[in-house]
């Protein structure tokens, strides 16, 4: 075999694009994956990674541009064709691959079961030798007794390895691994890495999707950064992590002068003491002050949502205490928090905040029904007024307070969700990724309201993984890396570069 440098790409993408309706999720993506190399694919949520994987594995056959395998264009791709061409994928969700109720052995040989050569007769004894063979490929060391067990008796990590073994048995030419370590322990990650290294030696091309920079640092030969459906950066070893994070988060040159006047609060509104954001990470003390907007920034999995849900009581902290204006504050559920004026705008608008088929007025009044219906009967006049207040205050584009929330644009939905809590006079308002999937106009409008709210004496906490969102609307910035506060500064004391540097420090 020739060395990697002289080899031709196994799979190459030429100008691949994809749109769902009017929403372009990939545009002009071109890249090549070579044999015997590990290429990392990096991108924030919504960057287009999953779409790209699905195009490669044949799930989305109708895309723009071209996929070539060994230089030959692939026509009418399908999951079957992709596999026949040697492109195999281990998906992030294990449940998508493992078949419950079947034995480990059956799961291992599953791809062979449908082949005509398998014949009609099925017995566990018949497939055991084959299953042993497949398991041996990964040196899983599973005894016949384990092979006979129901697959769900395996741990998550072993299930992950089972899927990998199954893919390897198909002799892949390119293996796509989508966040393969999310379920694995440190030791198992090491084992997985050994497997990937030996695959590389055998000449397999690996496309490794992850947002853990440290994993990519140990494993990858080259990397590609995707943002908003476009390739923003390609690097080979040695990697420059600053540039990588910058490319992930957006390289807006930000000296369009800061429009905000920094406000600093003096009085501590909410104090966290000894709170663990991640199970195995050190406990944290964090203060949030009234009168300022605190931005909490970190990559996916840094602990932002844990912080938000803990403060709101949606997933109470297991360790540590909180005080609200000096008084003990231990919300066991969101109801406790709402009673004390601590509100949350959750991360996933449609799953966690919107009620399908509900009008703006009803959506807005839901958390405050006991005050709008003191004796049980909902006062429709007061409810409508509150709906109209939110529409006016947040400049929601709607026909009226009876407009259904499902029929609003994403930005206007978010205005309603934020406005609902503003109408309830928050002492602490936490917003988890409030600007995701929200147009620039709504973002500016909401941001403006949050500054007013802080000026009126509330403590506002904005979680985001976007540096510019934070810089444009916050007074103070906490950088969170892997459950730990890495830096805590006011916005005038730091720069965009410093923030990115803190975020990109490998834990």
């Amino acid at each position: 075999m020739d060395g990697p440098a002289t080899q031709k790409a196994v799979v190459s993408l030429a100008d691949v694009s994809m749109a769902f309706g009017t929403n372009r999720v990939l545009s002009g993506v071109s890249m090549e994956v070579f044999p015997a190399t590990v290429k990392a694919l990096i991108g924030a949520n919504g960057a287009g990674k999953s779409t790209l994987i699905k195009i490669l594995s044949g799930v989305y056959p109708e895309h723009g541009g071209e996929i070539r395998v060994d230089g030959k264009p692939v026509r009418a791709n399908s999951p079957r064709l992709a596999r026949a061409l040697g492109i195999h994928t281990v998906h992030q969700k294990i449940a998508d691959g493992v078949i419950p109720g079947l034995s480990v052995a059956e799961n291992l040989v599953f791809d062979n079961l449908a082949l005509p050569s398998f014949g009609a007769r099925f017995s566990l004894a018949k497939i055991l030798p084959r299953a042993r063979q497949i398991a041996a490929r990964l040196e899983l060391g599973w005894s016949d007794e384990i092979l006979r067990r129901d697959v769900f008796q395996l741990g998550i990590a072993d299930q992950q390895l089972l899927l990998l073994a199954r893919a390897l048995d198909q002799e892949p030419r390119m293996l796509i691994l989508d966040e393969p370590t999310s379920a694995l322990s440190m030791a198992e990650v090491e084992r997985l890495f050994d497997v990937i290294r030996s695959l590389r030696q055998d000449g397999v091309a690996v496309l490794y999707v992850s947002h853990h920079l440290s994993e990519i640092d140990t494993l990858a030969d080259s990397l590609v950064v995707l943002r908003d459906g476009k390739i923003r950066l390609e690097q080979s070893r040695p990697f420059g992590w600053n540039d990588v994070v910058r490319a992930m988060l957006g390289e807006q040159v930000l000296d369009e002068e800061r429009t905000i006047v920094e406000q600093r609060g003096t009085q501590v509104r909410l104090a966290l003491r000894g709170v663990r954001l991640h199970e195995n990470r050190p406990p944290q003390d964090i203060d949030f002050r009234a009168g300022e907007v605190t931005g909490v920034i970190g990559l996916l999995g840094a602990g932002k949502s844990e912080l938000a849900k803990g403060v709101f009581g949606a997933t109470p902290f297991t360790v540590g205490t909180m005080t609200l204006d000096g008084a003990a504050f231990t919300p066991r559920n969101p109801g406790d928090a709402v009673k004390r004026g601590v509100f949350l705008v959750p991360e996933d608008r449609s799953a966690e905040a919107l009620l399908p088929g509900w009008s703006i007025a009803r959506s807005v009044s839901l958390p405050f029904l006991s005050s709008l219906a003191p004796r049980g009967l909902v006062r429709q006049g007061a409810e409508s007024r509150r709906g109209r207040w939110v529409i006016d205050e947040l400049e929601v584009v709607a026909t009226g307070e009876g407009h259904l929330v499902d029929e609003l644009s994403g930005g206007n939905q978010q205005r309603v969700v934020v406005g609902r809590w503003l109408a309830g006079k928050p002492r602490v308002l936490v917003l988890d990724e409030p600007f995701r999937g929200v147009d620039i106009g709504a973002r500016a409008g909401i941001s403006h309201k949050l500054r007013d709210l802080a000026a009126d004496g509330a403590a506002v906490i904005v979680n985001s993984s976007d540096v510019d969102e934070i810089l444009q609307g916050c007074d103070r910035i906490l950088v969170l890396v892997d459950g730990v506060v890495r830096s805590d500064t006011y916005i005038s004391e730091t720069t965009r570069d410093q923030i990115i540097e803190r975020m990109s420090e490998i834990a």
Binding site: G335, E352, G357, W358, L366
Partner: protein
């Protein structure tokens, strides 16, 4: 581009026309079928024209409608209650035991029945909310328990006045006149069960759509996680829904018991399926595509009309089931196929 193509008069008129028809069918389909059936039976069957027939349709509908309102309440929170028929049957036996065996007055029987209905509702709530058993499975299990338990109390026998008791004596009590009046009485010209139905439908409508509790029940049905994150105790309100469902089933059982006038052990057996059917038919009324009180009652009236009319027309009971099923299919087509609103019927199994 598309707008320009649409400018041809024919195309412009025809598209909204089809849309209008669809919209009309989705909104008024069930109501139209009910009116059509009434007109049809009035035109073809002499007996159906009598005013007593109309009242007997409504009396027949009352039990099913009240049971259906129980199912509706569980459906509002995104669940279902299959123990409705069992609870109603149990109510028949408990009321008979209270009056006939223990020789108590009617009001005590009523209280005992209501308590037992609420209790079964609490058991359902405990299984579903606390032990996290899917609603359909939990209430199915409870249905069996309730049906069997009532037979244990009475040694598998129907309760009637003068029946021999295990200790050798005879049951001296009887269904009291005020209890029998639950079904046989009148308020002015209106039969008592019809009056009860009107009051309960009105009360459930107000409860579900005008009070904060009802609002929260619908919120849970629409998105339980969003409701929880609005600071609401979802468990407590889901429990409330099952207790209300149990109470309504008990009321249906009271009317049934008063109608039969003895502790018939097979009473209530067919109520469950009818109740679920009318609650489903009710979802499509006015194109709401949500479980709702008026819809369920109208669904029961539709069913009552159908059964009464077909009986008068001497259609055998087993053929009536075919017709019932077809009407249900048509209503489901309105809700799930024709409606643009996504019909919500969630049941985690």
């Amino acid at each position: 581009m598309e707008a320009r193509i649409g400018k041809t008069p024919a195309a412009e008129a025809s598209v909204p026309m089809a849309e209008q028809v669809r919209e009309f069918v989705v909104r008024y389909g069930v109501i139209a079928i009910t009116i059509f059936l009434i007109v049809f039976f009035v035109a073809t069957e002499d007996t159906f024209r009598k005013s007593t027939t109309l009242l007997s349709v409504l009396k027949y509908a009352s039990v099913i409608a009240i049971g259906g309102l129980g199912v509706t309440t569980a459906m509002v929170v995104g669940g279902i209650d299959l123990s409705i028929g069992g609870v109603a049957g149990m109510a028949v036996t408990i009321s008979a035991m209270t009056m006939v065996i223990y020789n108590q007055i009617g009001i005590i029987a009523i209280v005992a029945v209501l308590i037992s209905g609420a209790f079964v509702g609490l058991v359902n709530a405990f299984l579903i909310v606390r032990l996290r058993i899917p609603d359909m499975l939990a209430t199915l299990a409870v249905m069996f328990v309730v049906q069997g338990a009532k037979l244990i109390f009475v040694n598998g026998q129907s309760v009637s006045s003068g029946m021999p008791l295990p200790d050798g004596s005879f049951a001296i009590g009887h269904f009291t006149p005020e209890f029998l009046a639950i079904d046989a009485g009148f308020v002015g010209p209106i039969p008592m069960p019809v009056m009860i139905l009107i009051v309960i439908t009105l009360a459930m409508w107000v409860f579900l759509t005008r009070t904060r509790w009802g609002r929260i029940l619908y919120a849970i049905g629409a998105n339980p996680e969003a409701t929880r994150l609005a600071g609401i105790s979802v468990s407590r309100y889901r429990a409330l829904a099952y207790v209300v469902a149990g109470l309504l089933a008990a009321v249906a059982g009271l009317i049934l018991s008063s109608r039969i006038g003895q502790g018939d052990i097979s009473a209530g057996n067919s109520l469950l399926l009818d109740s679920v059917a009318v609650a489903l038919v009710g979802m499509s009324v006015m194109g709401l595509n949500l479980p709702n009180a008026w819809g369920t009652t109208l669904g029961a009236i539709l069913l009552g009309t159908l059964v009464t009319g077909l009986t008068i027309a001497a259609v055998p009971y087993y053929a009536q089931d075919v017709v019932k099923g077809l009407v249900l299919v048509v209503a489901l087509i309105f809700s799930f196929t024709l409606s643009r609103k996504k019909a919500r019927y969630v049941s985690a199994v």
